[in-house]
């Protein structure tokens, strides 16, 4: 397991190089002079000169890239043009916000999706199966923004069950520690606040988690059905085992392998694709951070935001790969 983990980590090196090459190129791929584009049409010659100096835009590309990477390795993500603050100092709360939302969205998607898939396969062609697969079909085809707006309208406006936006009650903000608000409220020992924070998470998590939930449910069902036809399941039956042991021990573990792939991919998609949801629910995540940076032409922030999301994507893939190895003893690469 250790050697395998090391191998996987080593294989990340070229991926990371590729990623940084792409984010590095963003600034240089815009047509025209980057400093001019960043500062806008009306910028003065000296302003452009100064910016070029400070961003090192006059140097050869190879040298610029080396600076970029060595800065990154020292934890320097550059400085925001808008706030004039080092990005590494201001980005964490956004990452934490995105992470927390993604986590709860996937938690919702996995718990409901996997169980619905199992029961659907177990009771194939039953009314439950039919209903669950209908819901899953609707789930994958529904536009996220529409679902988010409907949720806000019904559960926030009309029923007032859940708040319609933000991460917490902004009239009474809490002192952040890790910026994972659920965790922070627990660390503060303030459980009524935990409850409030969780309530804020419900609607955006469902909006974000519905598509992955539907995909996971369908994948689990088809994977379970396939496994249930296999020879080794017949062996377990021939041993005299009951349905429960067959389904939750043997069938589920085998069926989980392809489901895990889907879970990993979908988590990545959520991380990158949360901008819409974050905007609708005023969720201060990385998506929003990048979105605002784009409107300000804050290139260092755009670069770093994209790099962070890509990096998280890579980390999730790594975790999925390690989980494969944990589940399936045959894997050895």
């Amino acid at each position: 397991m250790f050697a395998y983990t090391m191998r996987r980590l080593f294989m990340l090196v070229p991926v990371l190089i590729g990623m940084t090459l792409i984010t590095f190129s963003i600034v240089h791929l815009i047509p025209g002079n980057p400093a001019q584009v960043i500062l806008g049409e009306t910028a003065s010659e000296t302003a452009i000169k100064n910016l070029e100096e400070s961003m090192g835009l006059n140097e050869p590309y190879a040298l610029q890239y080396t600076y970029y990477v060595s800065d990154l390795l020292q934890g320097d993500l550059g400085t925001s043009l808008k706030t004039k603050t080092p990005i590494s100092e201001e980005i964490w709360p956004y990452i934490a916000a995105t992470f927390e939302l993604t986590f709860f969205a996937m938690l919702f998607a996995i718990i409901i999706g996997v169980n619905a898939g199992i029961i659907s396969a177990w009771k194939q062609n039953s009314w439950f199966d039919f209903l669950a697969m209908l819901v899953a079909l609707i789930g994958v085809s529904i536009p996220v923004f529409w679902l988010a707006l409907m949720e806000q309208w019904i559960f926030a406006q009309e029923l007032s069950w859940f708040p319609s936006s933000g991460r917490q009650d902004n009239r009474d903000p809490m002192e952040p520690i890790t910026y994972f608000f659920v965790l922070d409220s627990i660390l503060h020992g303030d459980f009524s606040r935990t409850f409030t924070v969780l309530k804020h998470l419900v609607l955006p998590s469902i909006a974000l988690g519905t598509i992955p939930m539907a995909i996971i449910a369908r994948m689990t069902r088809s994977s379970m059905l396939e496994v249930m036809r296999s020879d080794y399941i017949r062996t377990v039956q021939a041993k005299g085992s009951g349905q429960f042991l067959i389904i939750y021990k043997h069938a589920l573990k085998n069926a989980l392998i392809p489901v895990l792939t889907v879970i990993g991919l979908q988590t990545g998609v959520l991380l990158g694709g949360a901008i819409l949801t974050e905007t609708i629910f005023s969720w201060p995540g990385v998506g929003r951070y990048i979105y605002e940076a784009i409107t300000y032409r804050d290139y260092p922030v755009i670069q770093s935001g994209i790099l962070i999301i890509a990096f998280l994507f890579v980390i999730i893939n790594l975790v999925v790969d390690l989980l494969y190895k944990f589940i399936d003893p045959r894997i050895n690469y």
């Binding site: 020879d231 017949r234 062996t235 021939a238 041993k239 005299g240 085998n254």
Partner: protein
């Protein structure tokens, strides 16, 4: 031998498919006595697997369904038994091993886990005792380094080793009957012989009855006391191994025997019965073997032969064995002779 432990009568297992109803097992009767080794032979598609799966009630359903007959285990008709009772019997009193050792074990669990599971389903024992017993079983089936193999995963073992593990699992609870569906077909010849020897040994030591399914009469000759020959969903001949091999009566059995490869007749081309097993259909007319039979005559095309008793528990489903025809035939012979 009156101690019948398994008695199947007129079993009918049909598949309900898009192409219609398929009577894959069509009125099969057979008996297994305590400690006996009975073989079921026939080419692929004759309904051997479906017969054995029917006993365990593991026929894939849908599309399969047992639509008639009885399966008595001792004095109990399994077809009327509760689901719970069937689970208690499976693996404990009647166990089964399958053709494909490569896919019959769960790839994600260790050999030890899968062996212990077989014990823990039926016996009230703790993990340590189950472990002990599992190692004992692995040694019994001739697996070297039994303690280490407990922690191995199936993909780490060869096909022959896996089949030994399957046998260990199936024998763990000391069943009365072991059903083995082509247990050696997927293995190469030397390993085949070892597995058959192992089954023979277990039969002798534990007095476990074995219902051995195979398409290979050579395997039957090796280990079976009695043979049932199946063709297109029916029993066509039955008798002791000795009788069947020395004196086959049904043209199909004769064909099977002719197709056993003989070691000392090297250059002779291997015989095989022309044609293939017909897919069973509802309302088939005449003898099911007629299209491949060199003795087929008018009656074979209009009438279906019954299983004629030849005495001494020998049976054959061929009009040539019908008393009236035999008489006609011998009269004709007598006439030409004079």
């Amino acid at each position: 031998m009156s101690d019948e432990i398994l008695k199947i009568t007129s079993l009918q297992t049909h598949f309900f498919t898009d192409q219609g109803e398929i009577p894959a097992v069509d009125g099969v009767s057979l008996t297994v006595h305590k400690g006996e080794v009975v073989g079921i032979v026939g080419e692929s598609g004759c309904g051997k697997s479906v017969t054995s799966l029917s006993i365990m009630q593991l026929v894939p359903s849908p599309p399969g369904k047992i639509v008639g007959g009885t399966i008595h285990y001792k004095s109990e008709n399994l077809l009327n038994a509760s689901k719970k009772r069937i689970k208690d019997i499976r693996g404990n009193e009647i166990s089964m091993i399958f053709q494909e050792p490569m896919t019959s074990l769960d790839p994600l669990f260790t050999i030890g886990n899968q062996l212990r599971e077989a014990l823990q389903i039926h016996k009230k024992i703790n993990k340590k005792q189950a472990n002990q017993k599992s190692i004992e079983m692995l040694k019994l089936v001739g697996i070297p380094r039994a303690e280490e193999v407990m922690n191995d995963y199936p993909h780490q073992l060869s096909g022959g080793m896996r089949q030994r593990v399957m046998i260990a699992i199936s024998m763990a609870c000391d069943p009365e009957i072991l059903i083995a569906d082509e247990p050696t077909t997927a293995l190469d010849v030397t390993i085949q012989a070892q597995i058959l020897d192992l089954m023979k040994k277990l039969n002798h030591e534990k007095d476990t009855a074995i219902l051995l399914i195979t398409h290979d009469l050579g395997v039957v000759a090796e280990i079976c006391d009695r043979v049932i020959v199946m063709y297109a969903g029916q029993v066509v001949e039955e008798g002791t191994t000795r009788e069947i091999l020395k004196n086959p009566t049904h043209p199909y059995t004769k064909g099977l025997i002719r197709s056993i490869p003989k070691l000392h007749e090297k250059d002779q081309k291997l015989y095989s019965i022309p044609g293939t097993v017909p897919k069973p259909k509802m309302g088939m007319l005449g003898c099911r073997f007629k299209d491949r039979c060199e003795f087929a005559h008018d009656r074979c095309f209009s009438e279906a032969p019954e299983l004629f008793s030849l005495g001494n528990n020998r049976y054959s489903r061929c009009f040539l064995l019908d008393d009236t025809e035999r008489k006609v035939a011998s009269d004709a012979e007598a006439n030409t002779g004079s």
